[in-house]
Each structure stands twice: as structure tokens, then as C-alpha cells.
Symmetry: C2
Subunit: 424 residues, 2 copies
Amino acid sequence: MKLLIIGAVILAATTTMAPAQEIPKTAAELGIMQGSPPERTINMAEWDKGPDNRWAFQHISEIIPVANISRGSGPATPLQVSPNDLSELMFKSYDGNAMSVQNMLTQTYTDGFIVLHEGDVVYEKYFNSMTPNTRHLLMSVSKSLTGTLAGMLVHDGRLNPDAMVTDYLPELKDSPAFGNATVRQVLDMTTALVFSEDYADPNAEVVAHEGATAWRGESAEGAQDGVYFFANTIEKEEARPHGQQFQYASINTDVLGWLIERASGQRFSEFMSDKIWSKLGADHDGQISVDYKGSAVANGGFVLTLRDLARFSQMVLDDGYYNDQQIVPSGWLDDTRFNGNNDAWKPTHYHDTWPNGFYRNQWYVTGDDNGTFFAVGVNGQHIWINPTSRVAIVKYSSLPLSADKENITLGWAAMDAISRSFTD
Amino acid sequence: MKLLIIGAVILAATTTMAPAQEIPKTAAELGIMQGSPPERTINMAEWDKGPDNRWAFQHISEIIPVANISRGSGPATPLQVSPNDLSELMFKSYDGNAMSVQNMLTQTYTDGFIVLHEGDVVYEKYFNSMTPNTRHLLMSVSKSLTGTLAGMLVHDGRLNPDAMVTDYLPELKDSPAFGNATVRQVLDMTTALVFSEDYADPNAEVVAHEGATAWRGESAEGAQDGVYFFANTIEKEEARPHGQQFQYASINTDVLGWLIERASGQRFSEFMSDKIWSKLGADHDGQISVDYKGSAVANGGFVLTLRDLARFSQMVLDDGYYNDQQIVPSGWLDDTRFNGNNDAWKPTHYHDTWPNGFYRNQWYVTGDDNGTFFAVGVNGQHIWINPTSRVAIVKYSSLPLSADKENITLGWAAMDAISRSFTD
């Protein structure tokens, strides 16, 4: 085995081999949804946790309502393949242990993994029955797609980041949380909300949020009222004003989705299709989770194939240009990458890892020496973009826990190392 | 207006112009699912009836669970276009009145209509916001696709039509209805069942059937048990033996779907993809409605674009050959078209219209002088195939009533007249 150690930015000083881990079982090996009819079916209360999510993330339309995002009827944009087997590439994890990319992929319950360099597919792996034609849930990677979509409306002058949310959504005028927030604060998640994202706490707002999105079925509390009604129930965090601190709260992105629908006059799925998906040369239609009123779950509900999300990521890497056209305005992506507020980021734990970073337009911007920025979702979903080495990576996973910090950061270290290996 | 009267086979002697009808409103005009969030949403108790179905039939994945039927990754089979405007073509309805094709399409709540002649698209119309990229519910046209799929297993020797259903599905050994039925009886719907298809009767078996399929939501009676469990609850009609009479009962097709899963060892959606959909050169993935256990609703749950169902229909017209390959065995389609039992058909009302017809392998075979055969579903879904004039037609509709005999037979008269116009 060739031991090529690629240094990620943030590494401990010593390097030891990571201990061997048990290989995660596939949905088929676990007997989930096997047989006719299957004995072991999916539980609506926990389909997005392990082990049900091993099957569920690749079969979302069987579990929750989804709206179609049409790819249109043009040809798919060809993806050139320039193979570069990264399986044995060694990297140092944040805990200082050395690990191969292959072992990382296995340990982190990977379903699909693709690396583009200069737009060519250099490495592409599928696990757990996933194929190039399988759609997979993006979880909060969806937020970065939603933020990018919002940019189309800002560019067209139809959505003003400096306006009040209520200028577009008078329904929120009495909302404690959003009644006096700006669009910019929603875009950058600097609203000050009483909103816990602790999935393990049954009283956390994110749990009620799931009920409102249709993710817990028809009879869950709030399911029939929908996600926009739920947005109106959120309380303001009185300890600080809006605009001061980055606070990750998913409901912001659903309000952004609502703003997109109102400003565009279209359903979220239709606007996404018209402005991005039909121009990208995608292989497949996409899908977006919708609540029982048909409103998009913009914060976490995109369902896309690996290659199609790679195309989107390459477009973002190429400043909005893809398939021979400028799809997303260059100015919006520059704004995303360069205009964030590091002060708002400082009080958060991200600052420990990326002291120069910020959160802007629903993307994490690291502020590192490569200009790396990324999207991340629970259970191990990622887009990783390194503009210096011209690498874009997508990783789909079905980690058992929503917030498995160890395995999620392991993915970051690997993707950072892979990206940097192309500058050597 | 050019008055070209094309004679359909079964016409009254006199011809008068049909009275003008009110033009059906579109979903958008009715305000269904318009606005953000929409005020007028879809009611789970009646989404498949008018007016909700004007929107619902084109947004099935937002309403009920669907499994994906992958098109694979090959190129789409080109559809050549040879325009022939049939809008003003006049035909005589079964009531003897003359009507233009265009007026028929309007009156019968058409969403999509396509006519292929010698495989070329000669006429293609969309209404009510439908597009070439929109999937639409097939209702019982699904049965004919399911029957065709079963033929692949018969040809491979994996499903024996003369065997007992219980040879494959021992779970049904105590079923009063299916415990002593053969696969052939299920295929040709000559099982003798206590099964009413009267959608207007709340006590009809078809209403309980809908509950079992997930079409009425999670809390409907039988929803959590699923469609295969429901099959086990059906009673035998004691007044006659199996095999004697054609009796249209949708549950037969779901049992056939179960047989397909058991004999193939695959999920219905995967077997359909492997054997037909990935070989057809479809534009789009298809979908099939699944119950809350993931079992296919084979009797009515296919969701496909108009052009893709036209490709399937052309394949059937061409004896199973399409996209440069024999997809469905020729022998199965010959068996379907020529080996039916007219005696079993005689006691039914279909005999009045087509005295030489029969129902075979889930297709209606008219026995007319053109060898016409067809598939039909409630609310106005159709495949119409005329092997003599080499015409295949698909019609999608959203008629308000499930069983609107007048408008459904109006479609038949029109499609018969259109088909025959190509032999002149």
C-alpha cells in the first residue's frame, strides 16, 4: 500500500493509523424492505435515522410527499471521466490518525461519492445499492441550493436582501421571530431565534419543525398546518438583536423558500426547474420534499442523483457558468464567497476550525488559504468546493445519527486532503 | 370547417351535431393549489375525483407514495414527428351525434393526447398545464402494463399460467377468493369474486381496496396492512366457479403484481425497470404507487409521461419490438390478441359493443375487423391500438367522475375513427 500522506489544514501533530472499524451493513444485509411484502418495513418516526435511513434516503418518494423538479427535455451535459483512483490516498483526520479514503468512505456510511477535477470525474463510488440513477436525500445541503436559487431573484431585482421579510410576506408581520428581520438576516442565518437543532431533544423546535414538514406523517402535530404556519410560531431570542450572530436554524431556509415562491410567483419546484435544473443538462429530474399544503421543504428536502448534484457543484465552482451558459449570476457567487461577516461567525464553534470563515447566502465559507467553501447536511451529506485546486466533491451518506460530529468532520478532512492533492 | 365524417364501427344511423358543452376549467382557473401557501388544497378523500384530480393526476408524488421506475442511462428513442392536424376531423359518437376531435378532447377533460402512425407522432396535444415532461396517473391502464410485464416471466418459465396462485403465494392458501384460483384466471379476470367496483358505493370492495393501497392516507382502514393483506380478505362469489366469466375486479391485478414480485424475486418497480423501462429509451423515469409496506399498486398506480406511454404502446403494436430490440416476447402478445375466451365475455355489457371480443392478459381485445385492442382506466385514461391501420393512441384525462361512461365511450369512438382514418 502506498502511504501518501496529504496534509489537511487542521491536523493534529502526530499521525497514527486509525483503528479498524466494523463495516456498516447495507440495507439489503439488514433485511430492510426485503421480501414481498417485506417483514421489516420503514418506521415513519425514525426513517431518517439508522438503520432505516440506509434504505430510506434512496427511496424518499415512497416515504414523504415530493414535488418534481423537471430537467426539461434537452440533452444531458456530458461528464468526462479521467480516472484517478483515490481509494488508497491517505489523509490525517482531525484527531491526528491516518486513514485511507477508502476506509473513510466505508466508516462514514457512504452511499455515493464523486470527485470532479477541472470538471472531469476523477473518482466515483457507489455503495449500499446506490447507482448513478438513484436519487438521494440532501438534507441540509439543500440549504445551499436554496440560497443559490434566491440569488437569481436578487439579481433580477425581485428580491431585495435589505428589505424586510414582511415586505414580501405580510403573513409574518406578527411573527415574533421574523416580523422585524431582513431578508439578508434570513439568508445569512443571523436572525436571533429560539430554535434548537438538537434532534435528540424531543422538545427541540427542530422536532416540531419535522412534524410541520410532513416528515413524520399526516397525524404528527402541525402536519396539516404546514411549514409556513410553523414559521409564524417561532419566538425571537431576546438576548441579542437580529444580525449580530450566525445561528444555524433550519426554519430560516424555509422562510427563504417562501420568499422565493412569493417573489417569483411560482412554486419553488417550478422556479428551481425553470432557472437552474432545466439549464444544467441534468441526467434526471430532481425532487423536493413538500408539506401537506404543497409548500417546499427548502431547508432539507432536495432529492437528486450524485452526478446531477456534482453538475450543480461544478457550476458553483465555475462562478455560475455551466453547460455553455451563465446560469447563476457571477455577482451572487462572488457575494457568497467574499462578502460574509466573520464577526457573526466568531461566537460559534466553527470559528475554532476556520477562524477566517463565515456563513453567507446559505453556504459555509471557510476563509482558508484555498478559498474552500461547502454545504453540509445531517447524516453525512456534503458538497465540498476548492476553487484553488479546481475540485468539487459530493458525498452522500446514511450515518445512523443526525449529528455525528466525528464522522462528519472525518469527511471534511478527507475532502480537504483530496482537494489539495490536486495542487501538488 | 371541413366536415369529414369518419365512420366508426358502432354508430347510430342518424348524424346530428353534438350540443355545445361548457369548457372544463383548468386546475389553475379553479384556483386549485394556487398561491403560496395555496388556499385551496387537495383533499385526500377525493383527490382522484373532480375537480381535485385536475391538479392531482399531474402531481401524484405529492399525494401518495410512489416508487421510481428507472429509465436507466441510455439515450431516449427518437420520436419522429409527421404532423397531421386531426383537430377538425369529425366522427360520429356512439349516440349518433357528429363531433370534432378537438371538441371531444375539450369535452372529455383531456390532459394529454398523442397519436402515433407507423411510429411517428402525427398529433400531440396538451391541456390543463400538462407538458411532454409531466407524468400523469394511468389508473387502470396500469393493468395492461402489468399484464404485459407478467408475460416476461411466463416466457422465461418463471411463472406458469396454469399453476395455482398458491404455488407461488402460499400466503393465500386460506384465501376464499384466491386459494383455488389459477394464475390464468387472475390474468384474464375470470376469478369469481365478491368485489364491487362501484366507486359511488361506500360499502363497495373497491373503496376498502383504495384504503389498503395508501390512496386514502395513513389513517384509512386497512392502510397499514397493505394491499396484499387486503387480497386475503376477498370472498369467493359462490354463484359460479372460477374461469367461467370475465368479471372486472381490480384486486386481481394486485395479486398479479404480487405474483410478479414473488416469481422475479424483485420489487415490482425494479423488475419493470430492468425488463421494460430501461430498454424502451424512455424520456423519463416512471413511477408506481406503493402501499405503506412498499408493495406496488399494480392495478392502477403507474405514473408516466404521455410520450413514454406512447413508446410503450408502439412497442405493443410492434409485437414487443422497439428501440432495436425484442423487449416483450412476441408469443405473449400473440397470446393476448388471439387466444382469449369470448364465452367468458358474453355475459358482460362489453359483448353488446364488441360481440367477438374478450379480455386477455389484462387487455381488452375488441375482435373487430381491425384487430383493435385497448387499455382503459377510470376518469378517462386510454391506450388504443389498431394493428391494421398501424395506429397507437394514448389519452390522459381528468374526468370528474370515475366511471363516466358517456365521456369514456366518446373517447373510444373518436380513437376508433382516428385510427381508421389512416386506412383511407
